[in-house]
Symmetry: none
């Protein structure tokens, strides 16, 4: 869930690269501006010219990570022949990444966790990110003519987030691969004419 970018390039990119790597690895509070400045080989004033504050830097990093994630997800689904297989491909790519040694979990989860205030830029980008994934999955589910695409998308996002958590907590040898079978079962359940789950949508499920 973190694509490495070439170390050379503009100062802004170098800062974002270094900051992202450190934020992702050690957390947002744990990484100080001075460390980023030192490791990116950039002057402090250069950083503060590009990013007025640490929060802005965090937000910028998250925005870029968001774009990279979207590209990664689209790529993962591109080869799939039909929408339903796109969903499986998305979950499979997630499982593969979440069990790879370089995956340390989801940087957006960490942002939402370290910045609980919903007004914080970091939290907002994280929320926006998850909303996009939810909507994207729902759109594909709709393309696949599956029943209740929002509910299915919710279930798939829950699995994906569970996979990222597994990566963060358990490390590479985790159980994230289980999301693939789970996702297949979810999709099967939502096939038109398939076995009707006892509830049509998530909201109703709680009431019972």
């Amino acid at each position: 869930m973190e694509a490495t970018v070439g170390a050379s390039g503009s100062a802004r990119d170098r800062i974002l690269d270094t900051a992202g790597e450190l934020f992702y690895r050690d957390g947002y509070h744990a990484v100080g501006i001075d460390t980023i400045v030192e490791r990116s080989g950039v002057a402090k004033m250069t950083l503060y010219r590009h990013f007025p504050s640490k929060d802005h830097l965090i937000a910028a990093y998250l925005e870029r990570a968001n774009e990279e994630f979207r590209a990664w997800l689209e790529t993962a689904m591109a080869a799939a022949a039909d929408p339903e297989r796109k969903l499986v491909a998305a979950l499979r790519a997630t499982a593969e990444l979440a069990t790879s040694p370089r995956c340390l979990g989801c940087t957006f989860q960490a942002a939402a966790s370290e910045f609980p205030d919903p007004q914080h830029p970091g939290h907002q980008v994280a929320l926006e990110h998850k909303r996009w994934v939810l909507a994207r999955l729902a759109g594909i589910a709709r393309d696949a003519r599956l029943r209740d695409p929002e509910s299915l998308a919710a279930q798939l996002l829950l699995l994906m987030d569970g996979a990222w958590v597994a990566a963060r907590v358990f490390g590479p040898g985790n159980h994230a691969s289980a999301i693939v079978d789970a996702a297949r079962a979810m999709i099967t359940t939502h096939r038109p004419g398939g076995r009707s789950a006892r509830s049509g949508n998530a909201r109703a499920a709680l009431r019972r």
Copy 2:
């Protein structure tokens, strides 16, 4: 893990209560020792006599939270008539809590996120916590004579963690309720003689 009785014990508890509330709400790095001391109304030395360091305090808080979580989960499952229903009850309780306004996500996820080093006490308690849940769910699945109980437990834990993430990122109005239907589908899939998923275990799923 044994609280001394008397006034000293109550001081320890007050510290743990205050620290826990603040850690859960604002994060581990964001909350300072001074704030905990001030809000719990004890002297700093008292805190440091009970907890040799902030990390120890965090670990103690997480240990206690772990016990409380286990009790909560057992209570949630207690009324269920049979093991299979226990699993559903566990997931339903999770969904209810994750969508309640007082839920801010999973404090163990936050700990694993803020302390990425697997050797850190906070990370270790978080890992231990998730391992226990995994094993507990697997045990019940086994009691329910479901196929591949480890795989099912993994899927259910993934859903639960997804639900906590949803609570953290989206707030009370989240999609965590979708885990109930998803869990039902998972369980169905793992019923003996049920529709055989294309893979028997998670490990194999990735290889394909």
Copy 3:
């Protein structure tokens, strides 16, 4: 014009001692808080607990230097038999100090120079200091029954400040000693019945 104080003592005193030494030697802008902290062996927070800001520290140093200067001047004049001789003693002590190797000029002049804003605490203490010297000399001149004591005090202060400037600019081998003869001539001029200067007061002198 700068008395050294024992290095041991309370933290506040150690800070003031170090800061004073550095401010006097290198100037107010040239000396940073970090240097003072490091050289005084004190924590930064300790400094900021005693002095809310650098300006407060500067003002506190100047206040203390002011008191020390007054004590020094009174001591210098104490042995003199009569008021007129006190004035000569004051100027002689000034000449001696201004030509001694440890004298680097007048710290109040430097403060007024580095903080030109009359509202700045540093400037205000400097002004207060010079005003006190002026008034003190005038008081003694009055005690000595000399004519136009304010004018005489002004002339003597001008000589003293000239001496401190000489120390700052020329170093130990300066011409400050000339203030003693000059002061004697001034005093003679202001003796009652003495040779009447062409003007009775300074104000009139300029008009001509």
Copy 4:
């Protein structure tokens, strides 16, 4: 010390004008290169092509100020009929300038104060400046056939520097005018056959 003609020369002058005004008003450390660049409307590289460093700029400003001061002093003394009156005229001009609202004290005193290191270019120009004044006054005193012209020049310079200090510390409403009467008394004392001061030279004064 040779200004190039043409547009480059005017740029150099504009820089020196702006820098001088700011240095004189706010101090040498307090004024930054950026401010000078901005206020003088030249490019930073232009400044650094004319002055290799801030210290060089300061030195150049002081050199120019020194020349201007000499011209000002000579002009002030030009109308005087004889050498003795030149000395009075010099002190009177000093008194008038030191009590005028535009006078903020002596920029050479400030330089010597902010750059205590005698090797610093700023300090050296300041020293050179004071030395010149001393020598010039002594020369005139010699022309006036006054006794001990060096001693008299020292006394007059002490008065002048006292006047500049008064301007800096007290502002326009200061006591600098008192230097005129004082100077007259000094001169009288040094007239040949005049009342012999108790010491012939400054050095001896201290020993007693």
